[in-house]
C-alpha cells in the first residue's frame, strides 16, 4: 500500500500537468457554449418560426448523441472528409462547446421565459428598441438567473472532459492511465484522478456560488 503512495508522489506533477489541459478544454468549451448558447436562446425566444425550428433541431441533435460518438464523428469523420487539420485538443473544445451550447441555450431560454413579460413591455413603452430592451433589461436578469444552471453545466462538462482522452488529449485521465499502465498502481492512480476531478468541480461550483451571491439583486429572495 505505501508503494501506491510513493508512486503517486513520484508522478503527481506529471499527472497534474494535465490539469491545465483539462481546465483549458473545460474553460474553452464553456465559453464557446455560453456565446453560442446565448445566441441560440435569443433565437429560440425572439426569433421567427423558422429560427425557432432550427434551434430546436440543433438542440435535439447535440443533446441526443453521446459525446464519444460526436468526438469520433468530428475527429475521424468530418475533419478528414473536409481535409481540415485540427488537433484533438481543439476538436475536443469545439465538440464539448457545441454540446454545451445546446444545454446552455435551454438554461438561458428558461431564465428569459421566467422573467415577468411586463418588463419587456415597459422597456418598449419608454421607446426602447427590442435589441436594447433585451440587452439592458432582459439579459442582465436572465444571466443572473442562469448561474445555478451553469454550476450544474460546469460539473457535467468537467466530468465529460475526461472522455476526450479517447482522442489522445493529454488531460488528467490520459496521464493517469499512462502512469497506471507503467506502474501497475491502477487503484491509487485512478483514485488520485478522481480526487483531482472532485476538487475541480468543487472549486468551480463554489466560485459560481460566490458569483451568484455577488450579483444578487438587493431585496430579492430566491
Amino acid at each position: 500500500m505505501p508503494e501506491g503512495i510513493i508512486v503517486i508522489g513520484e508522478n503527481l506533477s506529471y499527472i497534474l500537468g494535465g490539469l491545465w489541459v483539462t481546465v483549458a478544454v473545460v474553460g474553452g468549451a464553456l465559453s464557446m457554449g455560453l456565446g453560442l448558447g446565448l445566441l441560440l436562446a435569443l433565437g429560440q425566444v425572439y426569433g421567427n418560426r423558422l429560427l425557432q425550428r432550427i434551434v430546436g433541431v440543433y438542440v435535439w441533435f447535440f443533446r441526443g448523441i453521446p459525446l464519444l460518438v460526436l468526438l469520433f464523428i468530428f475527429y475521424f469523420g468530418l475533419l478528414s472528409a473536409l481535409e481540415i487539420d485540427l488537433s484533438p485538443f481543439t476538436v475536443s473544445i469545439v465538440v464539448l462547446g457545441l454540446i454545451s451550447s445546446a444545454y446552455q441555450s435551454q438554461i438561458i431560454r428558461g431564465a428569459i421565459l421566467s422573467l415577468p413579460e411586463g418588463q419587456f413591455k415597459a422597456a418598449r413603452s419608454l421607446g426602447m428598441s427590442d435589441t436594447r430592451a433585451i440587452l439592458f433589461i432582459i439579459l442582465p436578469q436572465a444571466l443572473r438567473l442562469s448561474i445555478p444552471g451553469w454550476a450544474n453545466e460546469y460539473t457535467i462538462i468537467m466530468k465529460d472532459s475526461a472522455v476526450t482522452y479517447a482522442l489522445g488529449v493529454t488531460e488528467i485521465l490520459a496521464r493517469s492511465r499512462h502512469v497506471a499502465e507503467r506502474t501497475y498502481q491502477h487503484f491509487w492512480i485512478y483514485i488520485l484522478a478522481g480526487c483531482i476531478f472532485l476538487v475541480l468541480t468543487y472549486i468551480g461550483t463554489k466560485l459560481l456560488q460566490r458569483l451568484e451571491e455577488k450579483v444578487r439583486i438587493s431585496g430579492y429572495a430566491h
Binding site: 419608454l126 439592458f136 431585496g219
Partner: protein, 254 residues
Amino acid sequence: MAEKVPVLSVQDVHKQFGDTPVLNGVSLDLFRGDIKVVIGPSGGGKSTLLHCINFLVKMDAGNIYLNDTRIDQSRKRELYAYRQKVGMIFQDFNLFDHLDALHNVMIGLVQVRKLPRSEARQRAEAELERVGLKDHMAKYPAELSGGQKQRVSIARALAMEPEVMLLDEPTSALDPELIGEVHEVIRAMAALGMTMLLVTHEIGFASTLAKEIYFMDGGRILEQGPPQKILFDAEQARTREFCSKIGRLNENSD
C-alpha cells in the same frame, strides 16, 4: 379660427385575439390638458385599448395620430419617438427588477434619449423627488412598497417628458392604504396640465379629475359623457347597472 387639433387621436381601432373580437372600433380624442377616464367591466378591452394605443399590441385596423401626425408603426424610429411622447403606467408597475429606483428612471434617459449619465442622473433624481421618493432612490423594486413602486414607474414615464400619459388601473394592485399616495401623484400631474387617459375602477377619484368618462364594454365605447351624467344619469341600461355595482363596491370599501 382654426380647429383645435387633439394631442392624441385614436380612430376606429379593431383588435381580435384569435377568433375573439376584443376591440370593435374604438375612437377617442384627447386635447391638451384633457383627462379622460375609461371604466367598464373586466374583459371589456380597456387594457387592450391602451396597449394598442402604444402599439404594444398590434391592432388589426385603426389609426393613431399624435398632434395630427399618423403613426406608422412599421417605421421603427417614428414608433420609438412616439412611445417616448406617450407615457404608459401599468397595473403591476413593471419596474426593472435589477435596477434601483434611480436607475429605473435613468435608463430611458440614457439608453433612449441618449442623455449623458450625469444629466440623466440629475433629471431622474428630480423626477423621483417630485413623486416623493427622494429618500428611496437607492432601493431596488423588491425593497419598495407597491405604492412606492407605482410612483417610481410614474417618475420613469415622466422623465421622458411625455405629452400624454396612459394609465392602466394604476392603483388596482395596491393595498387600500397605499392608493392615496398614488392618487396624490396623479392629481399633481393633473394640476400641471398633463393630458391623461386613465383606466380605473376608482370612480370617486375619477369623477373629481375627469372631464369625461367613457364606459367601455364588449370592445366598444357604449357611452361617454361628464362624470355626473355617466355615474348617476346614464342613458344605457348597461352603464347604469355597472355604475351602481361599482358605486356599491366603493361605498363598502370606505
